[in-house]
Symmetry: D2
Subunit: 165 residues, 4 copies
Amino acid sequence: MTETHPSFASWLSSCQTGLDGEIFRHDGHSEHHYPLVIQYEDTDAGGITYHASYINFAERARSAWLRLAGFSLSDWLSERNQGFIIHKLEAEYKTPSTLHDRMAVCTSVDVLKRASCVLRQNIYHENGHISARVIVHGAWVDVTSGPKAFPPQLSEIIALFHQDQ
Amino acid sequence: MTETHPSFASWLSSCQTGLDGEIFRHDGHSEHHYPLVIQYEDTDAGGITYHASYINFAERARSAWLRLAGFSLSDWLSERNQGFIIHKLEAEYKTPSTLHDRMAVCTSVDVLKRASCVLRQNIYHENGHISARVIVHGAWVDVTSGPKAFPPQLSEIIALFHQDQ
Amino acid sequence: MTETHPSFASWLSSCQTGLDGEIFRHDGHSEHHYPLVIQYEDTDAGGITYHASYINFAERARSAWLRLAGFSLSDWLSERNQGFIIHKLEAEYKTPSTLHDRMAVCTSVDVLKRASCVLRQNIYHENGHISARVIVHGAWVDVTSGPKAFPPQLSEIIALFHQDQ
Amino acid sequence: MTETHPSFASWLSSCQTGLDGEIFRHDGHSEHHYPLVIQYEDTDAGGITYHASYINFAERARSAWLRLAGFSLSDWLSERNQGFIIHKLEAEYKTPSTLHDRMAVCTSVDVLKRASCVLRQNIYHENGHISARVIVHGAWVDVTSGPKAFPPQLSEIIALFHQDQ
């Protein structure tokens, strides 16, 4: 058996929804849904999901959201030395989840400014209850020179997910 | 907006392949393919995937494999106090992977005995190269009384993935 | 060479300050200092400490604080089925830290009620700058019946670390 | 209260043994002992330490060992673009450990070649029993040009920990 396996790229494409989630229209704005399963590594000796794991889930969902919307954080970092940083986050824990539960992270945008934004990420259990709410304050930076306006392409993507109230 | 969201169970069902992977026939035995994306949490300051993250990937794939094959580890643990333990593992690292790469863990069975087995888990990059090989020696135990023969249902599942040479 | 090594208990006792930190009096209340080193597993491909790692650092410090103050969370959980749960947390990120930096988590108490409390955990870099502030809202629960007053022994410990303003 | 805290560098120095462990002579070679406490993040829903956490413990011990022996991996990486990579690891699991147990990782060297080495890392429980054995095959590389002989300073450090049989 050879060390290479020819068909992974095409098979992985067929897993798109599971890997990067899906975008839905909802109340006049877009919302990103990201699916995941609670793994052993996410739980702790208390028998439920460890509280910091939800912060990881929110980060996986943000990466998946931008990949799916067509914005490559890795290219911007390697080619232009620019990227997101997190200034602040708040997490509220509602209902615990347990090993092998299926969950969905729903991401939308609360505030969009020239160089920063506030994201709202609700983490739902398969049974429809909310497990955690995460609010993330992020800003765009040039790694060497500091805060910088969002690239227009990114700003347009974020605007689509903005809930105007 | 209410704290519950009605449609997650059905949406999560549609993500099945991404969440639990897929089973393929290959050379007379079954093989489980589990897809994943390298996340920030999986990388380290060296710029590539942290070596212990591959051990997590292998564990996520084993859980997904048994869920997909219809065996619930969580039910056996909570109802009968029985489960898998890992005695030994070996990992070989071949080609590094980096942030946001798509990977697939391919799981098959090298050895199946009455109460233990050896699993072979190859972790492939989307480009077809192998990133890591993980060999896992597991055994079935009653949590209080120690080693125990596999339940027949589990033994039959494992046998389907056994590569006879 | 035998599989047992006789002297670990005594050697580990000599590492007490490194493992569980130290308690200082400061402005009329006690403050717990917990030391740690940024490890590869704590960093990400951005080259700095991954944001969720600070949530882990805060949890390690809370466990160390109560162990050092003489309160065993594990005994209360196993013998009486009671323990802490986290309702809410807020994290503010100030100055990044990098691989192998030495840090200290300083824990004190902002609010103490009958069955809940708010902890303030500042995470300092060895150079004296603050890297992150974490505010944690916790409550005492009986795992089966729900919210419950703190045990008097625990309430007295928490009170010592309370900053009255 | 100011955002800086003046005394952390000196306080952290006093935690040296807990943070980076200690070097002992044993049977004609040196051995590095690294202490740690099992944290919530290291455990899983099975109630014991998650198997991949031991791979993290071994990595923390290797970093601490070289820091304590005076070799700075971060300087070599940033200034000369050289560092360790892991080719292969084997882990055997003996006795489980649980939340808040104190452990020690004992590191010595089995094989030392011009550009690679094999490390033996035994992870002991405070009670003297061995919890896990980890064997790590590492090599020195120039990140851009590939395998390279160890720097003499590093080679001399590794030789001190070599068990000649």
